[in-house]
């Protein structure tokens, strides 16, 4: 069933869009990543213009994140205090990021900038997560059920900073400065790279802040809802590139996928979840790196100066 999208001005099969939304929603619910880093390339691939793909992708991520977060909220997997601190940092970061984005666009190198940052961050985070979770899984297997003896949490430099605050749900008593800085970094990256930032936020919360994996997904989704809502609104007002009909189809598929993803995520162990996310992140990283290194089939590209 073909459907004509009023803003994208293309006619695309409605079931294809539902399926696409479903796959991305599933991953979103499972890992707590928004899925922005998947939906945008997929939309481009099926012929949606780039501006519309970025803006509408953000709108779809809002819905998938809300759906996923509500499931996490039921099982008390959202640390609202932590989420709010991250969000405040995120807004500061995205404010700076939007400026950098405009600057790189003016230079005509935004594509390269985005691709390089993707390869760098995805490679770094994916690699780190992959080896860490592999080690944990191997160790657990060797020791049987006996988990390594650990303190409730490890005291790091984050505990010596001032402005300490109690994050009850996460069971942490740390300074607000590290989460604020991480939030700002993610906000900066998401505004300049055009993604929600969940794939950076999730590992950063686990490894840098020591937030338990149990609450990481929900808290990350909580933060993503606000950053992507902001992005959607900015695009709608500045460039009129949000396609409501396209978003609706992706959302219907996405929210259902997110529900299934959340249910699957509860059945899996934390290490398994982390290793799967690491593999996904590394796969995307590898694909982008290939695009940069291999000679493209078509060297020329056409960019309309004014969007149709």
């Amino acid at each position: 069933m073909q459907i004509y999208l009023p803003i994208a001005e293309v006619s695309i099969n409605a079931f294809l869009l539902l399926g696409l939304g479903g796959i991305v929603g599933f991953l979103s619910g499972m890992f707590g990543v928004g899925g922005g880093f998947l939906i945008t390339p997929l939309l481009l691939f099926i012929g949606v213009p780039p501006g519309v793909a970025v803006a509408t992708g953000a709108n779809q991520v809002v819905a998938a994140s809300i759906s996923g977060m509500l499931v996490q909220m039921k099982r008390k997997g959202v640390d609202f205090v932590m989420g709010t601190v991250l969000l405040v940092g995120g807004l500061i970061g995205s404010f700076i990021g939007v400026r950098v984005f405009a600057w790189m666009t003016a230079l005509g190198q935004i594509e390269l900038f985005v691709q390089l940052s993707y390869v760098l961050f995805l490679g770094l985070i994916g690699g780190m997560m992959f080896f860490e979770s592999l080690r944990t899984i191997l160790r657990n297997r060797r020791q049987g059920v006996a988990l390594p003896v650990r303190r409730a949490h490890i005291h790091t430099w984050a505990h010596r900073l001032p402005l300490k605050m109690k994050f009850r749900v996460s069971g942490l008593y740390i300074s607000v400065i590290p989460p604020m800085v991480i939030g700002a970094l993610v906000g900066f990256l998401s505004a300049s790279m055009g993604v929600g930032g969940g794939f950076i936020l999730v590992p950063a919360m686990i490894y840098l802040l020591g937030v338990p994996t149990r609450v990481v997904v929900g808290t990350s989704l909580f933060q993503i809802i606000f950053t992507t809502s902001f992005t959607t609104l900015m695009h709608a007002v500045n460039s009129q590139t949000v396609d409501m009909l396209l978003a609706l189809l992706l959302i219907v598929g996405g929210v259902i996928g997110a529900q299934i993803g959340s249910l699957v995520s509860m059945r899996l162990q934390a290490e398994q979840l982390r290793i799967l996310l690491a593999l996904l992140v590394l796969a995307v990283c590898f694909k982008i790196a290939l695009d940069l290194l291999l000679q493209p089939a078509e060297l020329f590209s056409i960019t309309p100066l004014v969007l149709p």
């Binding site: 069933m1 073909q2 459907i3 004509y4 009023p6 803003i7 001005e9 293309v10 006619s11 012929g47 709108n59 779809q60 809002v62 819905a63 998938a64 994140s65 809300i66 759906s67 509500l70 499931v71 039921k74 005509g108 190198q109 594509e111 390269l112 809502s229 959607t232 609104l233 695009h235 709608a236 007002v237 500045n238 009129q240 949000v242 409501m244 009909l245 978003a247 609706l248 959302i251 219907v252 929210v255 259902i256 997110a258 529900q259 695009d291 940069l292 290194l293 291999l294 000679q295 493209p296 078509e298 060297l299 020329f300 590209s301 056409i302 960019t303 309309p304 100066l305 004014v306 149709p308």
Partner: protein, 256 residues
């Protein structure tokens, strides 16, 4: 179809009816308006016409017909990737002040055989002439490469099409061309040009327009997005929030 009636009328018009030895064309379109609705998936337009003569057709060169359909133009930037330090990045670019979003040439024969280069230059019919006509603004060193790339990419995407030999010409008088407008169509006025030629020279030409506009829901959404962008953005977000909540509530209900 009311085609037989129309054709009869055209035949009547084509009959000799006065002095003078010139040939001219009379044309029509099956529709001069295209409405884009939600289930729009391309549409085909029948362009037909007849040659009106005051005298018997001249001996010698055959009568040929060219029909072009041209979508609204837009400015473009063409970029080319080059390998720098092992990475393929955009290096050089050329700005095209405007290029049609859609272009189809339908003819009775190969363009090089039926159209002289002087008349191509004058009427901008072939793709290289058309794009040259709309103009390159920056003078890059190898601008011709860029223009060729634009043609190649758009021919691949079927945005530009060459339908050689697809005009049906009956008894050197009646002709018809079927043009399929693509599914990825934008709003605007689509220009249809019809030429009759003999010996590579254009004898007569005519221009007509097809108005393409969105209708119904498509039109409402498009207008809202452009006239009330903030409201549109908020509605999009509310839609997302509602859908997210509904899915969550629905699944909880299903599992309980």
């Amino acid at each position: 179809m009311r085609m037989p009636g129309v054709l009869a009328l055209l035949v009547a018009l084509a009959l000799p009816c006065g002095a003078g030895a010139t040939e001219s064309i009379v044309t029509g379109l099956s529709q001069n308006r295209v409405q884009i609705t939600t289930n729009y998936d391309g549409s085909s337009i029948l362009i037909y016409g007849a040659v009106k003569r005051d005298a018997p057709p001249p001996e010698g060169a055959r009568l040929e017909v060219i029909v072009t359909v041209e979508g609204p133009s837009q400015p473009l930037v063409l970029r080319r990737k080059e390998k720098v330090a092992g990475i393929w990045i955009n290096r050089s670019s050329v700005k095209i002040s405007s290029a049609p979003s859609f272009y189809e040439v339908t003819t009775t024969g190969p363009l090089t055989d039926i159209l002289s280069s002087t008349d191509d230059l004058r009427y901008h019919i072939s793709l290289p002439q058309l794009i040259r006509a709309v103009g390159i603004t920056n003078d890059a060193e190898n601008a011709p490469d860029f223009v060729q790339a634009l043609q190649r990419i758009r021919l691949d995407e079927s945005r530009y099409r060459m339908a050689i030999g697809r005009v049906q010409l009956v008894e050197d008088t009646l002709f018809r061309a079927d043009v399929d407008l693509p599914a990825n169509l934008g709003d605007g006025s689509y220009k249809v040009r019809l030429f009759i030629l003999r010996g590579g020279k254009v004898i007569d030409s005519q221009e007509r327009y097809i108005g393409v506009r969105k209708a119904g829901l498509e039109r409402e959404l498009f207008n809202l997005a452009h006239e009330q962008p903030f409201l549109y953005g908020v509605i999009s977000l509310l839609l997302a929030a509602f859908a997210g909540w509904a899915a969550s509530a629905g699944f909880r209900y299903l599992r309980s």
